[in-house]
């Protein structure tokens, strides 16, 4: 007996807008039925079941493609209704010019409220141009931005120089504490990672260099290779890239967030110049720390080279170091150190400038931070190429 009853019960549940196998576990769904009028006039659309945000979505597509003209919408069978259900009913009545019957008090209240909130279709995003127009539009925008950007960066550099000038005239306004704090963040906190990186790069250069030089029996020139390369080029270059990644990005993100939370504006209104309080200490700290970090990096690169040479090439550690003194001309050290403050300026300027450009939203902080690092590294490498040619031309080859 039990089986038969169950069969009938299940069968009764099967219908087009009903999923009996889900009925027990899933939420109940909105159902509807269209009855054509006997006299050929408008049809009656009868809803039943719940009409809520959770249940209307399944039948929405079908409701949008009703071919008959609906004259009456009957909601007397609706168990619960929320604003989404009310909206659906109201939209149908609007589109078909149908009347609504069978409303309870609360349903009527909802439908009334919704009808007041109806408006002509406004898109949910600002209008977009068609693709063919958008592409040249974007390209033009990028080019104009690039032009403006170059002018603005030069303007920003000018402001920094002006603020620095003001600070020289009014030394009491100089923020020594901020400078020291930034020097700690940029310099001292970077010591470990720069040491590790430089040491490993030194090892790689010495090891790979010696393999090539061995073919000419010139292994001893590994010392020249490591010494000149690290002091002249790699020490400062790698440090600049590392500082751009560590500190340049931090500058952009920090100043950018301060822009978003109106801290920068608050500073201005109090009479504190953001240039003096935020930008100058950061730029100065980076310019001061980069030569030191660069030299430190070169030194550790040489130590790395000496270490692997003593292990693999049979050149004793201290012999390697004393050979460095003989084979590396002093001007190599000056070349490296002279470039460092310039790289520092570029890295810090890029970070601070991009940070100051943030407006509107959090996404921009991310975009500007990325831009700060990418532009800084790019500019550092371009300038390094210029420096390489320049110093060779003046006879410091």
């Amino acid at each position: 007996m039990g089986d038969a009853t169950r069969y009938i019960a299940c069968d009764a549940l099967v219908g087009p807008a009903n999923f009996p196998h889900e009925a027990g576990t899933m939420r109940a769904l909105t159902q509807f039925q269209i009855t054509p009028a006997p006299d050929g006039g408008g049809a009656t659309l009868a809803f039943s079941g719940p009409m809520t945000v959770a249940s209307v979505g399944h039948v929405d597509a079908q409701l949008r493609h009703i071919d008959d003209t609906v004259a009456v919408i009957d909601v007397s069978g609706v168990a619960v209704m929320d604003t989404v259900g009310a909206w659906t009913v109201w939209r149908l009545s609007r589109d078909h010019g149908a009347s609504i019957t069978g409303c309870g008090d609360s349903a009527q209240k909802l439908i009334d409220a919704i009808s007041r909130a109806d408006a002509n279709a406004h898109s949910v995003r600002p209008e977009r141009l068609p693709l063919l127009q958008r592409v040249p539009d974007k390209v033009g925008e990028v080019m104009i931005d690039l032009g403006h950007g170059i002018v603005q960066v030069i303007g920003f550099l000018g402001q920094v120089v002006l603020s620095a000038g003001t600070l020289i005239r009014h030394p009491s306004r100089f923020r020594g504490k901020a400078l020291v704090h930034q020097m700690e963040l940029v310099g001292v906190n970077a010591l470990a990672i720069i040491a590790l990186m430089s040491f490993l790069v030194g090892i790689v250069i010495a090891q790979q260099g010696s393999v090539q030089l061995r073919q000419f029996g010139a292994e001893i020139y590994t010392v020249n290779l490591v010494g000149r390369l690290t002091l002249r080029e790699l020490g400062v270059l790698m440090t600049a890239i590392m500082v751009a990644g560590r500190s340049g990005s931090a500058f952009a993100a920090q100043i950018g967030t301060m822009k978003l939370t109106e801290e920068v504006d608050a500073m201005r209104t109090i009479g504190v110049s953001p240039m003096e309080a935020l930008v100058v200490p950061r730029i100065l700290a980076t310019m001061l720390m980069l030569p030191l970090l660069g030299f430190y990096s070169s030194f550790l690169g040489i130590v790395g080279g000496a270490f692997i040479s003593s292990l693999a090439l049979g050149i004793p550690f201290f012999t390697f170091l004393s050979r460095i003194q003989e084979v590396v001309p002093l001007h190599d050290v000056w070349v490296g150190l002279a470039k460092a403050p310039v790289f520092g300026l570029i890295v810090a300027l890029s970070g601070c400038y991009q940070g100051m450009q943030v407006k509107n939203n959090a996404e921009e902080v991310g975009a500007r931070t990325t831009a700060a690092v990418v532009i800084a590294i790019f500019m550092v490498i371009v300038l390094d190429a210029f420096f390489a040619v320049f110093f060779t031309e003046i006879g410091w080859g």
Binding site: D60, W87, N120, H122, S123, V124, N361, A362
Partner: protein, 275 residues
């Protein structure tokens, strides 16, 4: 399981940050369909209480039950499956800054009901924005283009996106001009009546308390010291409550309410006379 008459029940709540105890033995029951105002001095943990109720803050002890489900027993976030039944308006609106207003409203819809077609979802977002008292043009705007008051309205639209039963509002009228604040009060009242909401409302705004709150819960001394209608609270002799409601600002709000009621009466009388 919980009693459906009390959508929010807090028992013996204790929260502390380090050695700083915010709540200790706090009890609160919110009735279905009421607007409960939560007041208390700055730093008494009103927002913390709300965060504990919606599961953003894990209390040190006590029980929190929302819509019959225990929040405190939830082991991880997925255990709280009543999120589609509440809406939260944070103090600053907390809109997603990279999405437009309408897209902000669509986020919960997309999350909980992926079967809803794009068309219907756009329509829902649009009418919710309008229901919250924003103009239709605001739908395509980004939060950075909105004023503070508009952000709150947009935040309210997002809180209402799923037709929740429970609405949490954290200082909804703070920072609004008096006209805007009064309009916002009426909006909340109207929505509450139309949508049959239970509203948990944190506020410092005495006018809001007088205008729309059914009951007021007072937070002091690390617990809820009194819950009741304003006349009931005035009858207690707790110094803070007395100072709060009978201070100069409390008096002004009281007078405003009385004038309002009188004007309403006069209007009714006049209408009756005409009839």
């Amino acid at each position: 399981m919980g009693d459906p008459a009390f959508p929010i029940r807090v028992r013996g709540l204790r929260t502390a940050f380090g050695s700083h105890v915010i709540h200790d033995g706090l009890d609160l029951e919110v009735r279905k369909g009421e607007i409960i105002g939560v007041v208390g001095g700055s730093g008494t943990g009103k927002s913390v209480l709300m965060r504990a109720i919606i599961g953003l803050q894990v209390p040190d002890a006590g029980e929190v039950e929302v819509l019959g489900q225990s929040i405190t027993d939830a082991v991880d976030d997925d255990d709280i499956d009543i999120r589609s039944r509440w809406g939260v308006l944070f103090q600053g609106g907390a809109l997603f800054s990279t999405l437009t207003v309408a897209e902000n409203v669509e986020v919960p819809l997309r999350e909980f009901y992926p079967e809803i077609t794009d068309e219907l979802r756009h329509e829902i977002a649009r009418y919710k924005v309008l229901l919250s008292g924003l103009p239709a043009e605001a739908t395509a705007k980004f939060p950075s283009e909105l004023s503070g008051g508009m952000k709150k309205r947009a935040g309210l639209a997002r809180a209402l996106a799923l037709d929740p039963e429970l609405l949490f509002l954290d200082e909804p009228t703070a920072g609004l001009d008096p006209i805007g604040a009064a309009a916002f009060d009426q909006l909340i009242l109207q929505l509450q009546q139309t949508l049959d909401l239970t509203v948990f409302l944190i506020t410092h705004d005495l006018d809001t308390l007088y205008e729309i709150c059914d009951r007021v819960a007072v937070l002091a001394d690390r617990k809820v010291i009194a819950v009741g209608t304003i006349p009931e609270l005035l009858a207690t002799d707790h110094p803070w409550i007395q100072e709060y409601f009978n201070g100069p600002r409390g008096r002004a709000a009281q007078d405003a309410k009385a004038r309002h009621a009188q004007a309403g009466n006069r209007l009714a009388v006049a209408q009756e006379d005409e009839a």
